[in-house]
Amino acid sequence: MTTSTLAMHILNGLAYGMLLFMIAAGLSIIFGLMNIVNLAHGTFYLVGVYVAYTFVQQGTGFWPALLLAIVIVAALGMVMEKVLMERVYGKELEQVLLTFGLSFIFADVVKWIWGSSPLTLPVPSALDFSLNVGLTEFPAYRIFVIGIGCLLAAGLWYMENKTRIGAIIRAGVDDREMLAALGINIKIVFTAIFAVGAALAGLSGVLGGPIMGMYVGIDSEILVSSLVIVVVGGLGTWKGAFIGAILIGLTDTLGRVWFPSLTMAMIFVIMIMVLLIRPNGLFGRGAQA
């Protein structure tokens, strides 16, 4: 394999990994902070891309549609947290049932509104060109997605380590009772974090639309991949989600080249290997067993 081919594969893996990172980041923090296994997280991806599609159809253009979709998905997340999630904190199995139920409901509502035929979100015209990278062209849009992913990671890292909000979240992941003792309004923090997580998934959906297409069912596909990332990276850390996403994105992509017969199980093989060595994921906190 030539270096330029390898570079192409790596770029592809990174672009895919970054999309997953955006979902996994929210999932991981919600997981770590509120101890919620949010099986409805893929829903935010799904709703995000379909809402953006509608705005694009209405002629708003890609970027306003992106913003509107994120706002709407964040609002959806906020309502979901306030009305439903709040009732099941600490009850893991009820969360499973509740979020599974919600993902059923939303997937079917999306199908009801937009129909079952696959649709596509066009690449924004400003980025609809290809860059020459040795062997051939590489879509500029994917480079953009990689860039956004890295920016987001840097922003989240900064927030986690350098700001008060980050300190609150870190403290909360380690010990939830402590937050209350510090006089912090946990309810507001939880709602806000849930909304941010939803917004990130919505962002991923809109950005992923032109690459992965849109259809009902992509929500559960993407959910499984991002759950794998969260677990590989370790619950409750953005850093873990980032490294995990890159690892999974790259292995999934390169696996297709080097182990074509393993494509179906590639990411699961990686996950089992990681968990056997580090039962709490790469960056997970908590006692090693």
Binding site: M1, T2, T5, M8, H9, N12, A15, Y16, V83, K111, W112, G115, S116, S117, P118, L119, T120, P122, V123, S130, L135, T136, E137, F138, P139, Y141, R142, P210, I211, M212, G213, Y215, V216, G217, I218, E221, T253, L254, R256, V257, P260, T263, M264
Partner: protein, 417 residues
């Protein structure tokens, strides 16, 4: 106290939402649609006035939903045109969702055959379902009109007297364009199809014919079914530098592949050819211009020039306000074959029906078609078709005929090495 009031409110809200949704869902549902009409029902006259009940097993949830809905549209159009009647008997269709899962399909099958007591069946989408139903159908002796499932073996080892396919087999889908491609596009082909039985069967048929026509397969790629990103394969294609790519993909897989084919700059460099899935509005409408230039063979396109098709397209466009796809035609023809078989047999008795079905001939939007009694599969005219960009959308231009009266072989062909 405030808390309880709030809770009560939320509950009231949720109940209201639930009630509303249930109501809407009930209204929106179209199961058991056209039920027994007025036709009296003095039970003396040997069932001639009893309604005919058709059970449809399709996959309305999951990735096959668009296919299932298209088939349903086609069937409903046909029966609307006949005034919901076969002969003088009313028709009612009961639709069931098999979730493309054989286990669910078997449950639904029993429900249709035993509880609903349907006279005959139509469906399914998925090959796994048709295989699973095959044995129980043999036992229960009930006719199934196969409206989509393309597994070759249902015409060979798993052939049943009670199953007749009005769609296409994987073999017929894969091979007809091969000779044209080898002679006019290039000799070195890169093939790509999902890694599951339908993919293997279709590609095998293509490769066989392609090699016979002097072509060579330079590489095979087998992405998983439901692959989210084809970038890796496209990079590999660019590196391999074949004369052309031949692919079999469907639904979202096909859409993603075609779009990414353009995004990675492969379109224009290496010609893309493929099965009829790539030449159908279900794929070419979402992809838009990216699908321009794809060449392949298909059994149907809305631009076919025959009187039956012209009437069909007109009626279809009027009813649904869109261009028909080939699944619509499969649905339409399934309904047509059912009606014709029952009329000719004069009853819904399975043994009478299969005598007719074995040699049934009918006028399809695809042309004049006949069942091949040896394989229970249609002899199809396959048209060479190219996607062209015209007035802001992709349309299919017919280049010629790839194969006339193409039948699936009677036994599995031995692949040439």
């Amino acid at each position: 106290m405030k808390e309880t009031r709030k809770t009560r409110w939320t509950r009231a809200w949720l109940c209201a939402i639930l009630a509303l949704t249930l109501l809407l869902a009930a209204c929106g549902s179209q199961t058991a649609s056209e039920s027994a009409g007025g036709s009296g029902g003095t039970n003396g006259s040997a069932g001639a006035s009893e309604p005919i009940k058709i059970g449809a097993i399709l996959s309305f949830s999951g990735n096959f939903a668009p296919l299932s809905e298209s088939i349903k549209e086609g069937m409903e159009l046909y029966f609307e045109q006949t005034g919901n009647k076969i002969g003088d008997r009313q028709v009612s269709i009961v639709y069931e969702d098999d979730e493309a899962n054989p286990q669910v399909a078997l449950r639904k099958y029993r429900q249709l055959v035993e509880s609903e007591q349907v006279d005959l069946l139509v469906g399914p989408i998925s090959s796994s379902v048709v295989y699973a139903l095959r044995d129980v159908i043999e036992k229960d002796k009930i006719v199934l009109i196969d409206a989509n499932a393309a597994a070759n073996d249902i015409s060979w080892d798993k052939k049943s007297d009670y199953i007749y396919r009005v769609s296409i087999s994987n073999w017929q889908d894969g091979m007809p364009a091969a000779e044209y491609i080898a002679q006019n596009i290039g000799k070195k082909a890169y093939v790509l199809a999902p890694d599951y039985p339908a993919g293997h069967e279709t590609i095998e048929a293509f490769e066989d014919a392609f090699k016979k026509a002097g072509g060579e397969i330079v590489k095979e790629a087998w992405p998983k079914l439901g692959n989210n990103d084809y970038a890796t394969y496209l990079t590999d294609i660019l590196q391999t530098k074949p004369d052309l790519v031949f692919s079999f993909l469907s639904g979202t897989d096909a859409i993603r592949f075609v779009q990414q084919y353009e995004q990675f700059g492969v379109k224009g460099k290496i010609p893309l050819t493929g099965t009829e899935e790539f030449l159908d509005p279900l794929v070419t409408e979402p992809t838009g211009q990216a699908a321009e230039g794809i060449i392949g063979a298909t059994m149907y396109t809305s631009s076919l020039d025959n009187p039956v098709n012209q009437k069909f397209v007109e009626a279809f466009t009027q009813k649904y306000n869109k261009t028909p796809n080939y699944f619509n035609v499969q649905g339409y023809d399934s309904a047509q074959v059912i009606a014709k078989a029952i009329e000719q047999a004069g009853s819904t008795n399975a043994d009478d029906l299969i005598n007719v079905l074995k040699e049934i001939k009918f006028s399809s939007p695809r042309g004049e078609l006949a069942m091949d009694p040896k394989t229970h599969n249609l002899a199809l005219d396959m048209y060479l078709v190219k996607n062209v960009w015209k007035d802001g959308k992709i349309v299919q231009e017919v280049l010629g005929i790839a194969a006339k009266g193409l039948k699936i072989p009677e036994t599995p062909p031995t692949p040439s090495k």
